[in-house]
């Protein structure tokens, strides 16, 4: 199964961000930027006392390609819930991209699940990023997947082991490219199935 999304820039004509959404993104960022500064990204991930089975889902990426979590069994999956207006979400994307590029050939995948926004809006936003994510961006327009995972705030990130169980969780932005996090992901990759 192909686990890496195609670069969507080649498939979707670039559209201007609707004025209102652009305004919302900017003004939300205006108050949230100091928030990010207030809480500089750490790298601690919390290990769940008992790993729990991840609820299965199927969501589409920018190009309409469906991704089903259960079909990724055997890989280590980082599921990240995010939105464009959320600065710590934006801030952690480059670190996710770096660790994804380093480890995806070894059996690691990132699924960045956008909340409530449209592919057009996210596409416009992605065009502004210096680091262009190559991992799949999926759309949870009615937040039913985030609800099934019990997500209460953005960003929230989960690490799912090769058996499909959630083993680590982080609420709030993180630097996923920290050596401790990479080591932890590598351990999950190396663990027997």
């Amino acid at each position: 199964m192909k686990t890496r999304s195609k670069p969507f820039i080649a498939h979707r004509p670039k559209r201007l961000m609707p004025d209102k959404l652009a305004a919302a993104t900017l003004i939300l960022a205006a108050w949230l930027v100091p928030a990010a500064a207030f809480a500089a990204l750490g790298h601690e991930l919390s290990r769940l006392p008992v790993p729990v089975g991840a609820p299965d889902f199927t969501l589409e990426d920018m190009d309409g390609k469906p991704y089903t979590l259960s079909s990724l069994r055997g890989k280590v999956v980082m599921v990240n819930f995010w939105a464009t207006w959320c600065p710590p979400c934006r801030e952690e994307i480059p670190s996710m991209e770096t660790v994804y590029r380093a480890l995806h050939d070894k059996g690691f995948i990132v699924l960045a699940i956008n909340q409530w926004e449209t592919p057009d809006h996210v596409f416009s936003y992605m065009g502004q990023l210096e680091v262009y994510p190559s991992f799949p961006i999926l759309f949870d327009r009615d937040s039913h997947v985030s609800e099934s995972f019990g997500v209460k705030g953005l960003p929230t990130t989960l690490l799912i082991n090769k058996q499909g169980r959630v083993v680590y969780r982080a609420i709030g932005g993180r630097n996923f490219n920290h050596s401790d996090v990479r080591k932890l992901i590598q351990q999950l990759i190396d663990a027997p199935e």
Partner: protein
């Protein structure tokens, strides 16, 4: 000595840790943000102007009557962080504020907002801070908190959290809602 300790525990069931309060006033906007640091817990309140808040909700497609209603609320960009080594739990329903007339009030929670909106299938809710959550070490969150107060109002906020099996509570005096308009507007 032993009895003194027990009496002290009975008299002070809520622990107040030493806190470091920082205030930053912006004369151009008339907004004063407040940040408090406790061992293991930090809180920041950034007052948001009614224009700003209504623009956020309007831009996300909420109906005009709801957008207008938000103008009657004092809204804060609120950031909570677990800076300690033990799990932290907060519950906004326990937080309260006292207005200058001496009356005690409670925050309007995300659940209460969603209850008002549920007949209208409004899904936009992520911007509101969840009212109850457990943060593991390193976890943090942010979102709007809302108080049914007019712009420019002043109040004392009592906030609390649980960490390591202990309930902590403290107060920030003279918190100011954002003014309706910037002083130089």
């Amino acid at each position: 000595m032993h009895y003194r300790f027990i009496i002290a525990c009975l008299l002070f069931p809520l622990l107040a840790q030493a806190s470091d309060v920082q205030r930053k006033f912006n004369p151009q906007t008339g907004i004063e943000s407040v940040q408090v640091e406790h061992p293991g817990f930090s809180l920041k309140l950034l007052p948001l102007s009614p224009d700003f808040v209504s623009a956020v909700f309007s831009a996300r497609g909420l109906p005009k009557d709801i957008v207008d209603a938000t103008r009657h609320y004092c809204v804060f960009g609120t950031i909570l962080k677990n800076t300690g080594q033990l799990p932290l739990h907060y519950r906004l329903t326990d937080w309260r504020y006292v207005t200058p007339d001496g009356k005690t009030h409670y925050l309007k929670t995300k659940t209460q907002w969603l209850e008002e909106w549920k007949e209208r299938s409004l899904a936009f809710r992520w911007v509101l801070l969840y009212e109850e959550q457990t943060y593991q070490p390193g976890d943090w969150g942010q979102g709007f908190t809302t108080l049914p107060l007019q712009a420019g109002s002043q109040f004392d906020l009592t906030y609390s959290w649980t960490q390591g099996g202990k309930i902590y509570e403290d107060k920030i005096k003279a918190v100011h809602c954002a003014p309706a308009k910037a002083p130089d507007a």
